[in-house]
Symmetry: C2
Subunit: 480 residues, 2 copies
Amino acid sequence: MMLQTAGRRMKITQTFPWPIVRAYSTPARNPSFASWTDEHKAYFQQLLKPECVLTNTDDTEAYTVDWLKKYKANSSHQMVLKPKTTEQVSAILKYCNECNLPVVPQGGNTGLVGGSVPVYDEIVLSTNLMNSVISFDEVSGILVCEAGCILENLDNHVAKHGHMMPLDLGAKGTCQIGGNIATNAGGLRLLRYGSLHGTVLGIEAVLADGTVIDCLSTMRKDNTGYDLKQLFIGSEGTLGVVTKVSIFTPPRSLFKNVALLACEDFVSVQKAFVEAKKHLGEVLSAVEFMDRHSYYVLIETSGSNSDHDMEKLNEYLEDVMGSGVVVDGTVAQDEAQARKLFLIREDITVALSARGYVYKYDISLPIEQYYKVAEETRERLVSTDAKVVCYGHIGDCNVHLNVSTLEYDDQVFNALEPFIFEWTSKYRGSISAEHGIGRHKPEYLYMSKSGNAIKLMQQMKKMMDPKGILNPYKVLPETE
Amino acid sequence: MMLQTAGRRMKITQTFPWPIVRAYSTPARNPSFASWTDEHKAYFQQLLKPECVLTNTDDTEAYTVDWLKKYKANSSHQMVLKPKTTEQVSAILKYCNECNLPVVPQGGNTGLVGGSVPVYDEIVLSTNLMNSVISFDEVSGILVCEAGCILENLDNHVAKHGHMMPLDLGAKGTCQIGGNIATNAGGLRLLRYGSLHGTVLGIEAVLADGTVIDCLSTMRKDNTGYDLKQLFIGSEGTLGVVTKVSIFTPPRSLFKNVALLACEDFVSVQKAFVEAKKHLGEVLSAVEFMDRHSYYVLIETSGSNSDHDMEKLNEYLEDVMGSGVVVDGTVAQDEAQARKLFLIREDITVALSARGYVYKYDISLPIEQYYKVAEETRERLVSTDAKVVCYGHIGDCNVHLNVSTLEYDDQVFNALEPFIFEWTSKYRGSISAEHGIGRHKPEYLYMSKSGNAIKLMQQMKKMMDPKGILNPYKVLPETE
C-alpha cells in the first residue's frame, strides 16, 4: 500500500539569505571527499530510474535548504537520489563509499538544526519514495513500514484499526518516520508513551559501505545480543540510513479532553503539573507550558471512558482552582475547541517567525530551572528589541526558548551563545532536548557530554563509517 | 542512604552436579588470559579493604554458581572483589586490563543463562557494596542510584513518595538494578511502562580499560550525540560495568485489581487479551498466561480511581463471560487475595523445580504461534516422562516454556535443542525474550540475528574491549 504525501507545511515568511553562515563557523570541506561527476551520475541513472536522479537546480533546491531556511548548501553542484528499495540504498552507499562521495540521508527535511541538508556538495539520499506500509498486526498493535512514510499518514493508517502512533509533533504532515527515528523525535506524546528508544522494536538500516543490518524484530521483548537498532535512533544519519521500521503503536484513546489553565507565577505552574499527575494519573497525556503575557498550562487527558475522564478532570480543576494554584481556565467542549487550544501552542512558532528573525533553543532543564533560563535571558537582552518567549513540554522538562528580533542581530546572537548552552550545562540539562545536534551544535556537544563519552562516539563513527561519508560535518565535533 | 538486602531467594531443591557441562560445550579457556596470583591479590587488598577481596572457597562459592545451580565455574581458583566506588571499579578494570586478567561483573546473580558466574577463573566483580540511593526528585519522579541497589528496596524507597519502579520481576528481592540494566530485564510491568531502553535516562559505566563513561543524565529528553547508555542495556556486562543509574519512575497507582480467568482454548485466550486492551485501556497493567490443566489468564488493572477501575473491569468481565470467551473467573476481593493469585503464577517455577530437572526456555513469538510451540514440544516428548508447561507475559508475546523431568535426560535435551530455537527462528521470534544469551545461547544467536548484525556486535566488542577481558565466553559466538 502506498501512502500519499499529506503535504502540510507551515508557511514560513523568512527569506534568504540568513546570516547563519556568519554566526556558525562552517567546517572546511573534507579534502578526501570526491565531487560527483557525470560518470557517477550515469551510474546512478542506470541503478535507479533516470527520473530518480535529480541534478537541475530547480529540482534539487528544495532538498538543499532546510524548512526554516536557515541552512543552505554552500555549493550549486547538487544531486538528489530517490531510491525505492533497500537494495538500491545499499548499492548507492557501496558505490559512494568506494568513490569517496559523501551522502546526506534526508526524510521530510523538517529538522531544525540543519542535519538533513548538504553543507557542500554531498549527495542527498531522499527516502521520499520508500513509503509503503509492510504490515500491521491488530492484536499486538505492531506496525512495520518503510522509512519514508509520513508520520501523519501512518497515524491515520493505524487509526482505522483503533491504534495511534506513539509520537506526535507539529511537523507530522511532512516529517517521515525514518527521520523521526534518526533524530529520536520527541514531541507531545512522550510523556505518556515514552521515547522511540522504547517504542521502536526493530530497524533495518544500511551502513556506509552498503552492508544491510536487518534488526527488524517485531517482538516487544528480544534480548539476543547487543541492541544495535538503538545506535541508529538519534544518530542523525551519521551511522547508517534507516530503511525499514517496526514500531509499537498503543491503542487509540477514544476520548480526549483539553483544558487551558492560567497561573499567576511559575511556582503555581509547577504545582498545577504535580497535581495533574496525581488527579489525572493514567489518563494524563500532555502537559504543555507557554508564557504568552501570562503563565499558561495546557492539559490533555485521553482515555477509554468519557465519563471517568471528565470526572477526574473536574475533580482536578476543583482542586487547583479552589486552592488558587490556577486562577482562570477553560475546558474545550468539543474536538474543534480542543484543536483550537492546541493551535494556540503551535501558532507561537509562526507568530514569532512573522515578526522577523527567530533564535530557537531546545533544551531540557531540571524543573526548578525550567523558567529561570527565560528570565535571565530576558535580563541580558533588556537593551535590545528582542522578545523572549518560552514554551514547551513541561511534562518532560523540555523548554523551547525562542528569541525574536525584527532582524538578525550579531549583538543578540553573541548575548545568546554560548550563554544559553553554558547555563544549561551548569544545571546538567541537555543543550538539545529533542531537535538534535546537526550542523548547529557539534562544537557545543561537550556541554552536555563528557570528553570520554564524545571520544567513544567518535570511535564508533570511525568503526562504522571509516571514510566518514555519512552526513559529514554533523553531530560530532571534528577529531583533532 | 544505604539500603538493606531484602534477602528473599526462592528455595531451590536442585543440587550439584548438573550435567550442564555435558549438554553445552564449554569453550576452551582463552590462552591469552593470565590467572590471578598473590601479587595481584596484594594489589587489590591495598586498593580495596582486605575484607573486600575474597579468595577462600567458602566465601567465593556463592559467587561462582548461579541460583538455579546450573552453571558453575570450572576452576577452584576464585577471587571476588567488592568495590564501593566507581573509582575503585575503574582502578580494578584498568589493572586487570593491563595484566590480562578476565573479569565477570555480578549483581544479584539471579540470571538464568549463566551470564554472571565465571566459566573458569575470571575474577568476580560484585556490585553488592555499591547500594546507595543518590537522589530522588519528587516532581519528575527521577531516581539516581548506584548499580548494586536491590530492585525491591528501590521500589519501597520510591513508594514512600508515591512512585514505583517501572519494572517488577520474581527475583526483585535479590536482583540489583545494575544487573537488571545489564540484562535488559523485562518482567511484569513492561506491558504498561515499556522497556528499560525507554525508562533508563542515564548510566555511568566503566569500560574494560578503566575509562569512566558518565552519561548519567536525569533528563527525559536529551538528544546530544549518540545514546551511548543504550549500549550497556542488555549487553550483559560484556561492554562495560554499570556503576550508576538514573531511571524514570512512574506515579504509583493507588488501586489495583486482579482477576483470574479460565478459557476453554487458546483462541479464547487471545480474544480475552484483545478485549482486555479495549475495555481496560489505560488501566491495564499486566496480562499473564498459564496452562495449568486448563488455560488461564491473569489480568491486572492499576489506576488512580478505585470506582472507575472496578467499573471498567466489571464491564469487561460481563462482556467476555457473556460471550463465552471466558468460562470461569475470580476477582480478588482484597490485596491479600490479589497477591495469592499472582503467587499461583510465580509458584509454577518452584513446583516444576521440585519435580526434578527443568529445561527452561524464554522466547518471544507472534501471538498466532504463542501456544503452538508448547503443543508441538509436547508431541515430540510424548514417549518420555516430560511435562511441558507454558506460561508467560502474553501481553508482550513472551512465552516461558518449561519442560520438567524426574531427572536430567540426554534424550529429552536433544529433543528440545536446537528444535525450540529453530522453531522460534522460523517464525521470526526471539530465542531469548528477556533472560539474555549469557553462557547458554551464544551458539544460537544467529537464529535471531543476521550474520551482518552479529559481525557488527563483534566489531563493537573488539573496539570497546580489545583484550576481551569483560565477561568472556558469553553473549557473542567466538570469531573465526
